[in-house]
């Protein structure tokens, strides 16, 4: 017997959410969705959640199980009982307001997808037949195009938890699908917009979205690809790009990170307002004895690091 610990919420009945424990025998081979359906249909019809295709393509049944977002239809329930546990906790996806039980309001999620202008931009009229695209060019957008907009990445995104302005992994993965589409003619414009606050450089590379993505879309890798394109396109007049370039410069030069120049170069030498903002942080670091050594030394094997850069053609 397994305990399904489900976070219930129905604003018509009660203002606050509560946990309900349901004892349930998992049938062999049942997915988490199969279990929830059986519970709903045979025990408690009020239990609410979204679902449709039950084959991991429609993206309806995103929810959190044991603290992490997943598609209920894609996971064998027994696989959620590792290490001798006897309880599966189920709650709605995070970073979105809850409507009822496991149903969340995805309005903001879609709004952000909309913000990246998720459609092909073309300047010239298309040819009579199909536009040519090589299999290699197709490969560049293949992974992003598998996204099913389930919101699992958005639910568990650590940046979104502290910054609601962040576009979020799904919208940015969708953006990559156009940034690197050989048929799209808005690349420059796109990467400039995506480099603004709330965009690619606000991703903290925690890779949570890669862990949660039920498809090969894996947003963090797509975000990194947009970053590369932005730098190639010379879109470097922003903190994120400057931070990345300063990082690389420092490693290439000394084999280690120069933590004194990094914040200054990230802000930009002529960004007086930004630099002034660093002063109080610097002073507090000084008081706590956290200031890195003023003289930045190379590591012993710095030549090896430089050789790596040469090998990479940098």
């Amino acid at each position: 017997m397994t305990t399904f610990r489900i976070k219930r919420f129905n604003p018509e009945k009660q203002a606050d959410p509560y946990w309900e424990d349901i004892e349930y025998d998992i049938p062999p081979g049942a997915t988490l969705l199969d279990c929830l359906n059986d519970i709903k249909w045979t025990r408690d019809g009020t239990l609410s959640y979204r679902m449709s295709c039950r084959s991991a393509i429609c993206g309806s049944c995103g929810m959190k199980a044991n603290g992490h977002a997943l598609l209920a239809c894609q996971r064998q329930a027994e696989h959620l009982l590792k290490d001798g546990r006897d309880t599966i906790t189920i709650e709605p996806m995070g970073n979105m307001p809850v409507i009822k039980d496991l149903v969340v309001d995805m309005g903001e999620f879609w709004e952000k997808v909309n913000q990246v202008k998720p459609y092909l931009k073309e300047k010239e009229k298309p040819p009579e037949k199909e536009r040519r695209q090589s299999p290699e060019q197709f490969k560049l957008i293949d992974d992003a195009s598998t996204c099913i907009m389930c919101g699992c990445c958005y639910s568990d995104c650590n940046t979104l938890e502290v910054d609601k302005n962040f576009l979020g992994p799904a919208a940015l993965a969708k953006a990559q699908r156009f940034v690197q589409d050989s048929r799209d003619e808005g690349t420059g414009e796109r990467v400039r917009e995506l480099s603004e606050a709330g965009g690619i450089w606000d991703c903290t590379h925690c890779a949570e979205c890669v862990e949660r993505c039920p498809k090969p879309a894996q947003p963090m890798y797509r975000i990194k690809e947009i970053m590369s394109v932005a730098l190639e396109e010379g879109v470097t007049n922003n903190n994120g790009a400057r931070h990345a370039l300063s990082f690389v410069k420092s490693i290439k030069h000394s084999g280690r990170l120069n933590e004194n120049t990094l914040p200054v170069e990230s802000m930009g030498y002529f960004n007086i307002k930004g630099l002034m903002e660093l002063v109080p942080v610097g002073l507090r670091m000084l008081l706590k004895g956290k200031i890195p050594p003023i003289i930045h030394k190379n590591i012993d094997d710095v030549e090896d690091v430089r050789r790596i850069f040469r090998e990479l053609g940098e």
């Binding site: 129905n10 604003p11 018509e12 009945k13 081979g29 997915t31 709903k40 249909w41 045979t42 408690d44 019809g45 009020t46 609410s48 979204r50 449709s52 295709c53 039950r54 084959s55 991991a56 393509i57 429609c58 993206g59 309806s60 894609q74 996971r75 064998q76 409507i99 009822k100 039980d101 149903v103 995805m106 879609w110 997808v113 909309n114 202008k117 998720p118 459609y119 092909l120 073309e122 298309p126 037949k129 199909e130 536009r131 040519r132 695209q133 090589s134 299999p135 060019q137 197709f138 957008i141 293949d142 195009s145 598998t146 099913i148 907009m149 699908r177 156009f178 048929r183 799209d184 090969p216």
Partner: protein, 569 residues
């Protein structure tokens, strides 16, 4: 009351394509009980047909002939001709919209082989073609966000028809429970199919006949409902779809003796015979005790294709096998069985998407239909794989255009808002007030079991008579069901109950059509009448409600280029 020039119900391929077509200058609403990207069109895997000739020379005539032969000559050939001729430009337009397609080495759209098609004409995006097109169309709608209002998670209850014109729909907002009237000059239904009537189905939970029954309840007969396609490769016991592309890429079907049994049924086409023939062959092997490992399934063997090809062309299928049954098709065969997949029948419409009400094709002004819910009849008695995405796109566009033209030519009619709203409120109240002595889950399961067993791949008079009887008993029990959720916010239990009511009606209609058609043709096979009978049955079925009874009528089949011949593969 909400007003739109054009209101489209259903936001899959057909619905979204219709919306794109008619948003120019008109006030358009698009209503879906899920979200556009959750529509079941996205589950289509293998491809979309068009005679592009990118990998082998091909013509629209060959595409037409394959479609007609595949449909066992029940297709309306004038519509088929328009449809296959439109195909190449439809594909190019999808490509121009930004749809992601797999490519040939020289950059053209790649094409693969598919069941019943004599040439490799399935354009594809790996094994997620429906997904790729669905998202491309959704993108185009986001681009036109200021012109199309999308109603996500709204449910269609009734169609408003007065005399010979449609005036709108009665709907409710699933998230809030509010009932609303949407008045429209043109209404387009693109509401999908009804595979959920059967126990083993590839269909999403949303495939519950809502649109077909709303039209039926408004007095429109349903056409050819007895023709339900069983897909040869649904996952054993669950029905989760494994694309025909697996066979298109060279996969084998094996019985329990590890024989490629299709040799005995369709030696010329083997695994790539049309779906009705393959599904029957599989069921025959299973029924004869030659199932894979002695069970009620067949093996889909892809091992010889090798890891590289599987990973390139069929990655999603491989993942489905791993996730759902722990089988990696690179190393082991997948257990499959025939699974209810597609409804060839539906709301009768002409090749412009105009819904017609009788055998003389009298139009119902302002009402249009496209996609799986419609029966234009390009598929006849059996649809070929990859022809449905094409159907949804071609006729979605045409229905959208017709709806826009009509909306531009007329003003709004008169609606009795209070009366229309009361119909739904009464329906919901009636469900809340039922005695509660019956269990909806039992009723649903019994319906699905009965339909699968008695109205499935193999049918006969005895089974069908029994089936009809049982479905009617279930309809009576349904009126005494028990609901636990009487709230307004996201009451999914209530909607599932209404959907079950629709499915019980649909089950009755399918069975009545099957009982009446005493021949075997395409997806409809009667063991007591195993031959096609053109003399008596080369016509479409029309079924309408007549008091308590169903009334059956005939409609002629339009035959232009290809007179019926014996159908062998």
């Amino acid at each position: 009351m909400i007003k739109h020039d054009v209101l489209i119900v259903g936001a899959g391929l057909a619905g979204m394509r219709a919306a794109i077509e008619c948003c120019d200058g008109l006030n358009v609403g698009l209503l879906t009980k899920v979200y556009p990207s959750r529509s079941h069109s996205g589950a289509a895997q293998g491809g979309i047909a068009a005679a592009l000739g990118n990998s082998e020379e091909d013509t629209w005539e060959e595409h037409m002939f394959d479609t007609v032969k595949g449909g066992d000559y029940l297709n309306d050939q004038d519509a088929v001709e328009e449809y296959v001729k439109a195909a190449p430009n439809v594909i190019y337009q999808l490509e121009h919209f930004g749809c992601v397609f797999s490519r040939t080495p020289d950059g053209r759209i790649a094409q693969r082989s598919f069941g019943g098609h004599s040439k490799p004409r399935a354009c594809f995006s790996a094994d997620r073609t429906g997904h790729a097109i669905l998202h491309a169309l959704h993108e185009q709608l986001m681009k036109r966000g200021d012109q199309v209002r999308i109603y996500n998670e709204w449910y269609l209850h009734f169609l408003i028809v007065q005399e010979d014109r449609c005036h709108g729909v009665v709907v409710s907002n699933i998230q809030t429970g509010e009932v609303e009237i949407i008045q429209a000059k043109s209404v387009v239904f693109a509401t999908g199919g009804y595979g959920r009537v059967f126990k083993i189905t590839t269909n999403a939970f949303a495939g519950t006949a809502d649109g077909a029954i709303a039209a039926f309840n408004a007095g429109i007969p349903l056409e050819d409902p007895e023709f339900v396609q069983f897909h040869p490769s649904g996952l054993y016991r669950q029905g989760i779809l494994f694309s025909e592309a697996a066979r298109g890429e060279g996969g084998y079907l094996l019985n329990g003796k590890e024989e490629r049994f299709m040799e005995a049924y369709a030696p010329a086409r083997m695994e790539l015979a049309p779906r009705d023939i393959v599904a029957r062959a599989e069921q025959s092997e299973i029924d004869a005790g030659r199932g894979w490992k002695g069970e009620g399934c067949i093996a889909l063997d892809l091992r010889h294709l090798g890891e590289a090809r599987i990973m390139e062309r069929l990655p999603q299928i491989r993942q489905l096998g791993i996730d759902f049954i722990g089988v990696d098709c690179i190393k082991e065969p997948l257990p499959i069985q025939p699974s209810a997949h597609y409804s060839m029948g539906g709301i009768p419409a002409d090749m412009h998407g105009q819904v017609v009400m009788d055998s003389r094709n009298t139009p119902l002004q302002g009402f249009f239909a496209a996609g799986e819910c419609a029966c234009i009849s390009v598929h006849g008695a059996n649809r070929l794989g990859t022809n449905s995405l094409l159907d949804a796109t071609v006729f979605g566009e045409r229905a959208g255009r017709s709806a826009a033209e009509y909306a531009r030519s007329v003003g709004f009619g008169q609606i009795n808002e209070g009366h229309e709203k009361a119909r739904v409120l009464k329906q919901i109240e009636e469900i809340f007030q039922r005695p509660g002595t019956e269990n909806y889950n039992d009723i649903r399961n019994e319906m699905k079991d009965t339909m699968m067993e008695k109205c499935g791949v193999f049918r006969d008079d005895e089974k069908l008579t029994d089936c009809l009887q049982q479905v009617r008993t279930l309809q009576a029990r349904y009126k005494k069901g028990r609901i636990t959720d009487k709230g307004k916010i996201f009451n999914s239990e209530l909607y599932e109950i209404i959907e079950l009511g629709n499915m019980l009606k649909m089950a009755e209609i399918i069975t009545a059509g099957a009982l009446n058609r005493k021949e075997s043709r395409g997806g409809h096979y009667r063991t007591d009448f195993p031959k096609r009978d053109d003399e008596s049955f080369l016509h479409h079925t029309l079924i309408a409600q007549d008091g308590e009874e169903l009334k059956l009528d005939k409609k002629p089949v339009i035959i232009t280029k290809y007179p019926p011949k014996e159908r062998t593969y």
